[in-house]
């Protein structure tokens, strides 16, 4: 005998029995990105036009570095989950699976590249 009520089993699952976690993840990341977007634009706007040494020095500082890292990480996770909806809408079968795999690999590759560059910049700053 199950002591759990049918309502408890169904709650939060929706008609499709999945997807609420995806929706909630998009809600959370979108709220984070609302805060990060103006901060990131100010950081990038300040950095573009600087000579190379100044660019490295600027992103090696905590505020520009952390804002840029957060924007790229949260933004690309939001992107991966966002493209997933588009893929589910327009692709079927093998094409859908392939598109999901490409989207996830691409998203994490961009995150890795940005984190590598930012980490190296802050290490160069420590060395200086």
């Amino acid at each position: 005998m199950r002591y759990i009520t049918p309502r408890k089993v169904a709650e939060g699952l929706g008609a499709a029995h999945s997807g609420t976690e995806h929706h909630w993840a998009m809600t959370v990341s979108s709220c984070a990105l609302i805060l990060l977007t103006p901060a990131f634009l100010l950081v990038i706007g300040t950095a573009i036009g600087l000579p190379r040494e100044a660019v490295i020095g600027y992103f090696g500082r905590p505020y520009p570095g952390i804002i840029t890292a957060l924007f790229v990480i949260v933004g690309m996770i939001h992107f991966i989950k966002g493209t997933r909806i588009m893929i589910d809408d327009y692709f079927r079968g093998t094409a859908r699976k392939g598109a999901i795999i490409i989207s996830v690999i691409f998203g994490w590759a961009v995150i890795a590249a940005a984190v590598f560059a930012l980490a190296k910049m802050s290490f160069i700053n420590i060395a200086i």
Partner: protein, 130 residues
């Protein structure tokens, strides 16, 4: 079924002749801008990687970023980012059940269109004077 008029009935709306309401256009543009933003983030991350890869790699990336093409991509990205952010905020209200009436969604659509343009303009002004 003998006397049924088959030639003069109203047809269901077809995408090619159906005039999309502004709320539908702004909704579709949310997805389009979200995906198009890949170009802007790729350019920025490539530029960051260039800065730590060496003077020549940075010179190449910096030249592209500061060229007219880079300016075009980044300005378009700034607009896409503001548009996507404003449309995303509306989506959060939609999720809460607010603003779903036809008249309200029409107004919020125009707010997103005008707001994203204004925010892009402010961003550009700040970039050039700051």
């Amino acid at each position: 079924m003998a006397d049924v008029n088959r030639g003069n009935r109203p047809l269901s709306p077809h995408l090619q002749v159906y005039k999309l309401p502004v709320a539908a256009v702004t909704s579709i543009l949310t997805r389009v801008t979200g995906h198009a933003l890949v170009a802007g983030i790729l350019l920025i991350v490539w530029w960051l990687l260039g800065a730590v890869s060496g003077p020549r790699a940075f010179a190449t990336a910096d030249w592209v970023v500061r060229s007219w093409l880079g300016f075009l991509i980044l300005t378009a990205s700034a607009w896409a980012l503001w548009y996507h952010a404003l449309a995303g905020i509306r989506h959060l209200f939609y999720d809460a059940g607010i603003g779903l009436e036809i008249d309200e969604s029409r107004k919020s659509s125009w707010a997103i269109i005008i707001g994203s343009g204004v925010m892009t303009l402010i961003s550009l002004i700040l970039f050039f004077i700051g």
